[in-house]
């Protein structure tokens, strides 16, 4: 399988790999996927008191495209509000990374990770958000 240069770049030099301490102020965590499906993504957002995502980190078990999708998302969410982060769609990710059709699910999973992290933040802070974690693929 051949990969786009952008996928290779993120795979070779993933941005923002790591974790925040769960109990740190303003940290939200979204974990999606399953080992049996071949990919698990953990996305963490650090949200300041103005509701802006200051920082983001990820850890991903998955193929090169899954790693690249999550790495890209950590770059894109920074500086956005939670609602703006929810505007990031899998189609944007797939387009940016030039993912082939068999790898579209990686971008779907990255979108789901954003939703899960935002939902986690809002549940901790008293608001709810609709998530769609069971998109079929």
């Amino acid at each position: 399988m051949s990969y786009s240069t952008k996928v290779l770049d993120h795979y070779e030099n993933p941005r923002n790999v790591g974790s925040f301490a769960q109990d740190e102020e303003g940290i939200a965590t979204g974990m999606v996927g399953a080992p049996a499906c071949g990919d698990v993504m953990k996305l963490q957002l650090k949200v300041n008191k103005d509701g802006i995502i200051e920082d983001a980190k990820f850890k991903t078990y998955g193929c090169g495209s899954a790693i690249a999708s999550s790495s890209l998302v950590t770059e894109w969410v920074k500086g956005k509000t939670l609602d703006q982060a929810l505007d990031i769609k899998n189609t944007h990710i797939a387009e940016e990374l030039a993912l082939p059709p068999v790898k579209i699910h990686c971008s779907v999973l990255a979108e789901d990770a954003i939703k899960a992290a935002v939902a986690d933040y809002k549940s901790k802070h008293g608001t709810t958000v609709e998530t769609n974690m069971c998109s079929s693929h």
Partner: protein, 403 residues
Amino acid sequence: MVKTPVYLDYSATTPVDPRVADKMIPYLVEKFGNPASRSHPFGWEAEKAVEEAREQVAALVNADPKEIVWTSGATESNNLAIKGAAHFYSGKGKHLVTVMTEHKAVLDTMRHLEGEGFEVTYLDPEPSGLVDLEKFKAALRPDTILASVMLVNNEIGVIQDIATLGEVCRGKGVLFHVDAAQATGKVEIDLAKLKVDLMSFSAHKTYGPKGIGALYVRRKPRVRLEAQMHGGGHERGLRSGTLATHQIVGMGEAFRIAKEEMATENERIRALRDRLYKGLSQIEEAHLNGDMEWRVPHNLNLSFNFVEGESLIMAVRDLAVSSGSACTSASLEPSYVLRALGRSDELAHSSIRFTIGRFTTEEEVDFAIDLVTRNIGRLREMSPLWDMFKEGIDLSTVKWASH
């Protein structure tokens, strides 16, 4: 510095030994005659070369040259042996026995015969990859006409005890076919002693050319086959088609070299494999696939837990290796061989088969150890599953979000 990619995929195919190539070339250009031409020296010369090669192939496995039939490779040999025997002896019974971990050339042939009304028993191997003798015995029935068990497995390199299995078959009047494509030059084969009736060979796994193989067909007691390829009646009617003299000469020379050098070569390869295993077994959660005792020295097959298979193959692209992962092969299933050993899908996907050969060097092995170790570490640093494992969480108890 080693030249990359480093070739550690000798069980996929081997380069033609330069000595073999040198012997082949004259039979393409000057000595081009058809071995079936009986009326002039061009044919006589080609026929002589073919018969000499037949002796060389027979010598490696201690058989009579008359028992060697040329084919296009081990796939054709397996087809001819299994279909040929099944068709010829179908009056005696319609049951066949084989093992889940056989090569597709055997399994798919068996499937085809099922479509023709034969019944096939597919034995599960033990977790070691070996066939259990009692289960094998129990599978043989009065209407069983043939059992097929490979000598050396292509993925995990385990060696089946064909001497014992052959005795069982002979005792019960069941024909015994052995796919030895991965075995020549790696393990001793003595067909004068072994109770094997049919054995498949390939040239290109033993430093010969692709596109040529052979089938051993025992004469005493005589085994009959129904031909699968009809035509000019070559190979005593068992396999029609003009003989590929240059390929045959290449296979003969490759097997001659194998006979002469296998003892010393295997010692050298074993030392390299042990070095590779010693280095890679330092990696945490690296699981060996297949038995280590009953195994050719050329093969090492390891699964690396908590690393996803495709990203692993991407990480080691400076190595030419095979993987049990779906994404690197045409099929979407993880290795059926590793699944048959009871490995989980995740471990089957994250496996790497390293196969070492005649031209592998110590530097290449050290390069592989370093590359794999560094990249497994890198991918695990990135893996949430590795974190959870390190925190002592049992991943099988985690409720994963369905997606």
